[in-house]
Symmetry: C2
Subunit: 295 residues, 2 copies
């Protein structure tokens, strides 16, 4: 199987698990269950669940445990997109080619659907069959990385950056928080899931974080490059939106060629961090895939 | 000390604990920390923290443990008020006589401040010194009662009720979910906090829930009565807003006298549920206070 096939297979596993894990509807207020399902089931590539799955497999853990934690994290990612799209935030009408949650269900329901997904992520972990220590590690990591010192902080920096341009250091920090934190958490979740049934090499915690940091920033740089010179058809959205919004990106503080070199270097660092471990091939191929992607 | 003094003393304990427990600011995006603190520190009577404290004390537990869980729950209550006040929801400009969060910080920051408080509540519990089993019980109860089958579900029913009047059964259910679930959770949190250092009588779990259910619905009925015939000066807000919004309340499905009788009966049931336990006096006095309150 090549890496694209692996990504697709893992995405299907994640899609199926997520669909089953969503809360059962109460007919007295069904609309919010529909709203939650609408966004949670319109998945994309499911890169974060794949990171959790592959780190767990690398350590000899069980897919079932990885999928539980991956789902919780993906629900957090989903809520953040719903709230991000709201008129008071980015005011987007489309997400992955479909009308955004508030366009279908209204702003009030969309706000509450985001809140519900965020809350349910923690319920899912706390009510699972994972061991107590794994549950607590996971909840600690997820609440921190998705929270005010993590993803939410990054969103605020991004918003502030639209008024006052970010410094180069500020840009790195914003990206580490906004997208990097959840990517790091997804990698750690693979190790925590494995801990539920086996033991994980101590050094891997720090090395998984290094890998996550490399692919996280590289991922964002590639996004920024695609926004300048990507193919609109492949991307499924118009290019040039960042410069229209006057955003500071890796292509405003670097030339495109420089940015490409930095992304390559970060990807190479990410791969080195884990290449010494058995069964790290898929994660290495994934890092290369993310660098070369056209959408 | 009379019950009003006890309420005030407990509120001060909660206020102080909450102020210290809030996340330390990052100067690069200080605005969200200010927004979080603005709402979390503008407290009100802190009835929910008091329930946690007094149930914990009744069982011989430690105030410190009760305050930790009470704070997590109060942050959830706070986030729900911030999101409730947003223009796309109730569109309120004032909360407890102060401008609402989005009026001061903008809708985007207010939305994220709510998200941050919600997320931080779980971080606070997961990172605390409580035992693993108490942490997990607490996170399970909080995520369920604040979630789609609890408080959020109640908010959706409330919204839907503005379009299609609720049935009497629907009204009870909406209130049990919207306000009752967090009140129940606050009472259970007192028992969980006590469990951290001592053992709790098994029967008390069900009896605390009965108490919570009685005072929860009674609390809402009293609110509805005050909205019809309260004193605007004491309430600090205009009366009659429910009927203006065409809302189904306990005073639209009952006469005010009938509603008063139901609230009395529920309060009496609540008191009976716990009167057989040692040191239940304060909780009994609190139930009476909540019934007779003028604001």
């Amino acid at each position: 199987m090549n890496i694209k096939e692996v990504i697709k297979e893992n995405a299907t596993l994640a899609d199926n698990y997520i669909s089953k894990a969503l809360p059962a509807a109460d007919e007295d207020f069904k609309i919010i269950f529909d709203a939650v399902r609408y966004s949670a089931e319109s998945g994309g590539k499911r890169i974060r669940p794949m990171l959790t799955l592959e780190f767990c497999r690398m350590c000899g853990g069980a897919d079932e445990d990885a999928l539980l934690l991956a789902t919780a994290l993906e629900l957090i990612h989903t809520y953040s997109l719903i709230h991000d799209d709201l008129p008071c935030m980015d005011n987007d009408d489309l997400r992955r080619g479909k009308p955004t949650n508030h366009k279908v269900f209204g702003e009030d329901v969309a706000t509450l659907a985001g809140d519900a997904l965020l809350t349910y992520a923690f319920e899912l972990i706390a009510s699972s069959n994972l061991s107590d220590s794994v549950k607590i590690k996971a909840i600690k990591a997820l609440s921190y990385n998705a929270g005010i010192h993590g993803m939410i902080g990054g969103q605020v920096m991004d918003m502030l950056g639209e008024k006052t341009p970010l410094t180069p250091d500020g840009l790195y920090k914003m990206n580490r928080l906004k997208t990097g934190c959840l990517i790091k958490c997804a990698c750690l979740f693979g190790l925590y899931a494995a801990e539920n049934t086996t033991s994980v090499k101590e050094s891997l915690y720090a090395d998984a974080e290094k890998y996550a940091d490399g692919i996280g920033v590289s991922f964002q740089i590639t996004d920024d490059i695609l926004d300048v010179c990507g193919d609109e058809k492949l991307l499924g959205k118009p290019i040039g939106s960042d410069s229209e919004n006057g955003k500071t990106t890796f292509t405003t503080i670097h030339t495109v060629d420089e940015a490409r070199e930095i992304a390559k270097k970060l990807t190479s660092d990410a791969k080195s961090a884990i290449s010494g471990y058995d069964k790290s091939e898929r994660l290495i191929e994934l890092a290369d895939f993310l660098l070369s992607r056209q959408s």
